[in-house]
Amino acid sequence: MMRIVPREEYCIGCRLCEVHCIVQHSRSKDIIKAFKKEKRPVKRVEVEEEGHVSFALQCRHCDDAPCVTACLSGAMQRDPETGVVTNDTERCVGCWTCILVCPFAAVRRDEGERKVVGKCDFCPDLDTPACVANCPNEALIMVEE
């Protein structure tokens, strides 16, 4: 499957990946509306930064995903064909068990209308996930495994 790989030697810590992730997961997909007018969705990628080192990390779509095994409701599932791990927000109850077990801190609370979690879904509507497509320095790249 395709994976997103962070390259810390190229990351400039600009956090555009976070911004574009938020916009892509917003209702309007419009940057101003997403940040100012709507309930801002949680970011599904996060830049870690310390001194002059930084990199952006999102869900690894683990082969033996701990979040899938741990999920209390069955909402977190790995598609056997594509390998993508997605959260069915209809079934998610916001119990935070996946947050407790994800080794990459790739799941976040999303307390909008209902309590659910948000995580990288590989941007199903796009050919290339928004974070990768909009990284100005190719610090996030797609790799075929």
């Binding site: 994976r3 790989v5 962070p6 996060e46 870690e48 930064e49 310390e50 080192v53 930084s54 990199f55 990390l57 690894r60 779509h61 683990c62 082969d63 033996d64 995903a65 701990p66 095994t69 741990a70 209390l72 409701s73 069955g74 209809e90 079934r91 109850v93 916001g94 119990c95 935070w96 068990t97 996946c98 947050i99 407790l100 077990v101 994800c102 080794p103 990459f104 801190a105 799941v107 976040r108 609370r109 209902r114 495994e145």
Partner: protein, 435 residues
């Protein structure tokens, strides 16, 4: 005679994950699944969400309705397995002939522990562990009631919260001096108790029910050990759970703290496996089998039992205790040892407006963590606990808001990120199990 290559007793976290794991390896073998409950597999922890009205009955199901068909499983709901013969390799269910198996999984889960309280047999009570219990509770709370919950563990507190959401006037009685005594420490318990108090749930810690007087049906009066009396219309008994070992015991399997299994989830009898809350699972942090009656633990064990039943020998990596709870908007996550005995541990604590955080170390190894309030990056600590990683170089940043892979040595973070992709090496199985 009905014959299955794989027969499974139970229909919950352990059983369902075993089915999926078997099917991923053996497309043809016949699977028969027996459960005394009449429901398709549902998520037991969600019964409180159902009662509270957060989800509807559709939301209860752990897997879609097509699951059994898609997995090629003969599902036998409402059939209790009454005995197992290891010599004839059969099981018997209530009201049915014997059924033959090639290998057998006992995923029988837990039963509530009922303490001997004088007068308890005069009062109908709810143990709040099943969908049927949730239905009873919904029915009984159709009008406002006074509810008494005995026990402030996870099940008791979840019951209290659900009852509160149903408009009941709730009192919780707990013998120990804090709520969620196993999952939390003093401070976190206090924070949870505060929230519950603000919501008008009355919590009486250090207190127990000495005597009960029934009124016929569900109502009655409780006399507490300090002599105080309280009337209730609904009683929840939630003082603890026990591994459900009756089938295993009748076969003569050792069951001291749960059905005993080796690292391949095998019992002492050939081709009989066990997984889930019925089993005392290997705890990585404690270094010995321990009762961690938790959904993720049961699911993972089921998964490994399934692999091994289907002939793919893989050792169960072990578990540790972990809890995710939220009461009235306060999320609390914990893993490993949160209440260390006085000696041989170091505790780092941080408290600020974001919440309360704690890390417990044994030498250079992180053995426990707790986060209340801001919980977002908790999983990194859980994974360090599971891996028994050396955290000497990062110990001072463990509780920082942005603690993450950036703080780990470059080689380590690379390895972790790549490992995830190549299938998280069963944590602990390959690295530093302590020996």
């Amino acid at each position: 005679m009905l014959t299955y290559d794989y027969a499974i007793v139970g229909n919950s976290a352990a059983a369902i994950n075993a089915v999926e794991s078997i099917r991923a390896r053996d497309a043809a073998g016949s699977i028969g699944l027996f459960c005394e409950e009449k429901y398709r597999c549902y998520s037991r922890p969600l019964i409180s969400y159902l009662v509270a009205g957060d989800i509807d009955t559709k939301g209860m199901y752990y897997r879609p309705g097509t699951f059994y068909r898609r997995m090629g499983v003969d599902f036998h709901p409402g059939e209790r397995v009454t005995s197992v013969s290891s010599s004839k390799r059969t099981i018997t269910t209530a009201g049915r002939e014997r059924i033959k198996w090639g290998s057998l999984l006992l995923a029988t889960g837990f039963t509530p522990f009922i303490p001997p309280i004088e007068g308890l047999d005069e009062v109908e009570h709810i143990t709040f562990i099943s969908w049927d219990d949730a239905r009873d509770m919904l029915r009984l709370t159709a009008k406002p009631v006074r509810a008494l919950v005995v026990g402030a563990g996870l099940i008791g507190m979840k019951a209290a919260e659900a009852l509160h959401a149903r408009g009941a006037r709730v009192t919780v009685v707990e013998k120990l001096d804090r709520v969620l005594p196993l999952a939390l420490d003093d401070r976190a318990s206090e924070l949870v108790a505060e929230r519950c108090g603000e919501a008008d749930i009355e919590i009486l810690t250090g207190s127990s029910v000495a005597l009960l007087h029934g009124r016929g049906g569900h109502g009655g009066t409780a006399v507490l050990d300090d002599g105080a009396e309280m009337e209730f219309d609904l009683l929840v008994m939630a003082v603890g759970v026990r591994p459900r070992t009756e089938l295993a015991e009748a076969m003569g399997l050792p069951c001291e703290r749960g059905i005993e299994v080796d690292e391949y989830q095998r019992t002492k009898v050939r081709d009989i496996y066990a997984a889930g809350d019925a089993v005392a699972a290997m705890d990585i942090v404690l270094g010995r089998p321990s009762i961690n009656a938790l959904w993720p633990v049961a699911a993972l064990q089921g998964k490994y039992a399934g692999m091994n039943m289907a002939g793919d020998e893989r050792a169960y990596p072990g578990c540790n205790s972990m809890n995710a709870v939220e009461f009235f908007g306060l999320p609390v996550l914990s893993a490993g040892i949160v209440n260390p005995p006085a000696q041989g541990y170091q505790v780092i604590v941080r408290q600020d407006e974001d919440g309360y955080r704690k890390a417990v170390l044994q030498g250079d190894v992180l053995v426990g963590m707790l986060m209340a309030g801001r919980i977002e990056r908790a999983g990194i600590l859980t994974s360090l606990i599971q891996e028994r990683a050396n955290v000497r170089r990062v110990r001072n940043s463990l509780l920082d808001e942005g603690f993450g892979h950036i703080h780990l040595p470059r080689a380590v973070r690379r390895e972790r990120i790549e490992e995830a992709v190549a299938g998280l090496k069963a944590a602990g199985a390959d690295r530093g199990r302590g020996e």
